[in-house]
Symmetry: C2
Subunit: 212 residues, 2 copies
DNA sequence: CCGCATCCGGGGCGATACTG
DNA sequence: CAGTATCGCCCCGGATGCGG
């Protein structure tokens, strides 16, 4: 990107991450952790492959991303955020919070969706209502690759599903899942509108909104 | 801007404010308040006039900016942020905080600078060390149009200079002012390195860093 | 397959000139 | 003062190729 040539920290930040697609690549590396090139592409649908390669090169040069070859027998190259890259988390959370109202409008006809996008910020806005209870898991899916909430010790974190049986699971349209996770829709209402869920319902209720 | 076509609040936010120059226009309207077209241009140096016009049109259409004709005898048209536009403040603060390290490197050869850019975030990171003392003002300038800090009641706010005599003033290079306001440089050291200041020195010391 | 590089058409951007 | 108009150019988008 052409620099803005302004001695202002906002302009300097945008000189580095203001390019098209750049912040979405950072988002993907934040929610996924270390990821292969192909997995980043899957998580940033719509990006042209040459742009992804070029952006990653710039991000590495700027010190926000590191390229690492995993040792045998796995033998794959992964990209991961450096500490400096992870420091963009507050920026992405602020952006996502500002953009949330647009999510309550129905999604565009051809909008892509990944459960990960929803689960990651949700996990940061929810809290474990029973911090002393044992660890439980809730699986979330909208037809794509499922994500798992791990709930324990007062905290909620997300990780990819490993295929094992969760203590509870939710499945429905993206808006339905958003409604439930944001607390704007209670389970009974959501079920009547098409949400499917199973397992221990109390486990789901253990996820509480943290604050306004 | 082409939409990203992703049902993700970060992508939706970038659909609206991800275009080149857009966030810098928002910054300018945030630090200045209602401003005329020409003043925005001065505050966003480097932008082409057709782009400024187009961005303002989009921002109005998206409901972030309002265009208003001031009543006679002033007779000018001003642009100002709507409530929705002002809600981007946390995003810009987060971005500016992340970009701050780039400011400690020396500015680019042709970097433009406005004292306003520095004073606005500084005011939010500083606090009034003597909340019960009467209102005092500190004028800040780096050769451009000065900005005034108003310090009273525990708070620090910025406003344009109205030409009246401040209780204290600071003048120096952008980096020098940054060093003093960020607390990385004390007044004596800064003076020996070229900072000029006058008036009541205790007034300047009344500005305290609020936290890490 | 994975991780790109190359090619090419279109449109957003940048700079300048011009105008009610 | 508050914008249009115009015109290159380069970035972006989409497709394809290709070595490891």
């Amino acid at each position: 990107m052409r620099t803005y040539r302004q001695y202002c920290s906002i302009a300097k930040a945008l000189d580095v991450v203001g390019d098209r697609w750049t912040l979405l690549i950072i988002r993907e590396l934040l929610v996924r952790g270390p990821a292969r090139y192909t997995d980043i592409r899957e998580g940033v649908p719509g990006i042209a492959t040459n742009l992804l390669a070029e952006r990653l090169r710039e991000l590495i040069r700027e010190g926000l991303v590191r390229r690492r070859d995993t040792p045998p027998p796995v033998a794959a190259t992964v990209f991961e955020l450096t500490e400096r890259g992870r420091e963009l988390e507050p920026v992405l959370l602020a952006l996502g919070r500002w953009g949330a109202p647009y999510m309550y409008e129905s999604p565009g006809q051809e909008d892509q969706f990944r459960s990960r996008w929803l689960a990651w910020p949700a996990a940061m806005l929810l809290t474990d209502g029973e911090p002393d209870a044992p660890l439980v898991t809730v699986e979330l899916s909208a037809g794509d690759e499922p994500v798992v909430f791990e709930i324990s010790g007062g905290r909620i974190q997300t990780r990819p599903s490993d295929g094992s049986e969760p203590d509870a699971w939710l499945r429905g349209t993206p808006q339905m899942l958003l409604g439930v996770l944001s607390g704007r829709l209670d389970l009974a209402t959501a079920r009547s509108e098409g949400l499917e869920f199973g397992g221990d319902e109390r486990v789901i209720r253990r996820m509480q909104p943290v604050a306004a």
